[in-house]
Assembly symmetry: C2
Homo-oligomer: 368 residues x 2
């Protein structure tokens, strides 16, 4: 599917897996409703058990697609792939899949479900884009420059090859260009800073590939960065394997939670600190909003023949709505085409790769 | 060297590389002076250029050993190992090396120098303990239980085998037992939480080794933990490879720095927030002391035939003094023997390993 050739659909429609996440429809429905209110030109397809979605049956620009099964947060991938063939997640993903004419019923899918199942089903239903070996999960973290650092991969791929890391860099660049309006975002390769051991072999080879891509003008490669650079905002994008990215993300969540708890404890210590808290409250609330991780909710699964966004499993309605917003922005800004174009352009220019420059509609409908 | 057989020296002496770190003697000398004041039973051997250390020549319980060369923070390892043979770091390490009678001039070495050089020279001068393939760097991070989580490895080993990770777990247990007084600390194996991909092959095999060691009563293995568990304090110890550990540590430093900067900005926003800051200041200062990373300064290099502690390169005198304190506590609590004993005990009980139970003094003086 090369959507440049397609007419832009009159409205952007999102396919929403309403049953996913820790809270299911109790969170997804209010989020969808708020999203529809804030996007008068958008539509939503709610996917899930009809009985659970009945309250939305009269909403405007909203249709309901019935799916009888639900993938639980701890269902193994095999269950998601082989047993629950009518799961809300799978049905939602299939709505994003292009038909033979390259047309799909929805332009992006959003789920707060089980990441493993989401990744496996996405690959199975949508397939990867030409030139991409593995999809990656990208998300943004706030940085000290009052901007965001896009980090990928955040957990889809435990072991990565240098080629995977190059692909992540290119996909991340397309994402930041599409959503951040920065056509030439800088890319850092996550490494460790000690002189002894500037990374392992994979990292060294990835750096070499990134340098070649940068020399060809296909990438703005900054060089190696370290863990603290993510929060310094040294580069727009930080590329790493999914193991390291996942540890980094969760450690950041854990540290932020700890520091927040400590601040609360300090202000509750005694009557004087409680009085200080009253005075400091507006400032602290402003700070809290600024680092509210719900604002950054919505990881993008990149490298698939369809747009898929993942909200945190524990999302509340506000966080889930942010994921819907990001999916909407990605669809409006034609992220899929941008990723596709960038990856073909970059890989075509790399020595030793063989990617045909002209994908066909048949690619999109290829079944496993 | 199996120091159980040795008489406990009358005082603990620390060998200090006074030239290491970003600031050299300007930081190390005041730290040593404060340390000596607070430890009336301890001695220090200052190592560095005589001219730079002259101000300490009259200090009590303090001697000066001249070293003509200095390893700069960005000197490559080859320079440290092959060229600068009279560096302060190398001379300081050699003071910790046991002679043929198992006696050394100092019981621990402390440096704020270049980590790569410190690790390489430590291995070269001191050698690794029997049963240890590679030394690891261990440090503590604060956790939400108001305690500390010991994390290793933090950057010495980029690629690790399952056996390395087992050794790190055992060494970390010995460290926490010696310094934290907890004889049976729990160990978590750092992994990622998504169902899809519970770690790579190395992690899976390491988990198996840790389970075997735990079944034999040699380790308190909790199981897999994730990045946020470090700050939750789920386990006393978290084991990971040096790449992941280094990224985690630096990301935590970066995030903490960002949040601190944000809080400051919020309180400086306008006249009202500045007034709130005055009221909140004592509370914020208390919070700041609580998470002051300088308190946690002093990573331990474990697995060597001698105690070596590393302070952060950018340490100020307070932070460097904390590293001296940790080195002193480790020496007083016979950390070296504990690591040695635990590792032999554990490995002897593991199927497929061959470690002799009785090391000899000759082991300690083995030269490469």
């Amino acid at each position: 599917m090369h959507a440049n050739a397609l007419p832009i659909p009159p409205v952007i429609r999102l396919a929403v897996d309403c049953m996913g996440g820790d809270h299911g429809p109790a969170v997804t429905l209010p989020a969808c409703r708020a999203f529809l209110r804030n996007h008068p030109e958008a539509g939503i397809v709610l996917v899930g058990r009809e009985a659970d979605l009945a309250s939305a049956s009269a909403w405007e620009r909203c249709s309901i697609v019935h799916a009888t099964e639900v993938i639980e947060m701890h269902d193994p991938i095999e269950i998601a792939l082989r047993k629950k063939k009518d799961s809300s997640l799978r049905v939602a993903l299939s709505l994003v899949k292009a038909d033979e004419q390259g047309v799909s019923r929805a332009q992006a899918c959003v789920s707060a479900g089980n990441t493993g199942a989401l990744m496996a089903l996405s690959r199975y239903v949508l397939k990867t884009l030409e030139g991409i070996d593995r999809p990656a999960i990208a998300a943004v973290l706030p940085n000290q420059k009052d901007g965001f650092t896009t980090v990928l991969d955040l957990g889809a791929n435990v072991d990565c090859t240098p080629e995977n890391l190059l692909q992540f860099a290119v996909m991340g660049s397309a994402l930041v260009a599409a959503l951040g309006g920065n056509e030439n975002p800088s890319v850092g390769l996550l490494n460790i800073g000690e002189e002894a051991m500037k990374g392992n072999e994979v990292i060294k080879q990835a750096a070499e590939l990134l340098r070649v891509a940068a020399a060809g003008g296909h990438l703005n490669f900054y060089g190696n960065v370290e863990g603290n650079d993510v929060f310094k905002g040294t580069t727009d994008i930080v590329v790493c394997d999914g193991f390291v990215g996942n540890v980094l993300l969760k450690a950041a969540e854990g540290l932020a939670a700890m520091l927040t708890a400590f601040i609360k404890q300090e202000f509750r210590r005694n009557i004087f600190t409680k009085m200080a808290a009253v005075v400091a409250l507006p400032v602290l609330n402003h700070f809290k909003r600024r680092v509210d991780h719900r604002r950054y909710s919505g990881g993008a699964l990149l490298g698939l023949r369809g747009l898929v966004f993942k909200a945190h499993g524990g999302s509340d309605a506000y966080a889930f709505e942010q994921a819907l917003n990001r999916a909407y922005d990605a669809a409006s800004n034609r992220l899929l085409d941008r990723v596709h174009d960038r990856i073909l352009e970059t890989l075509a220019a790399m020595p030793g790769t063989s990617v045909s420059a002209a994908p066909t509609a048949a690619d999109a409908t290829l079944s496993a």
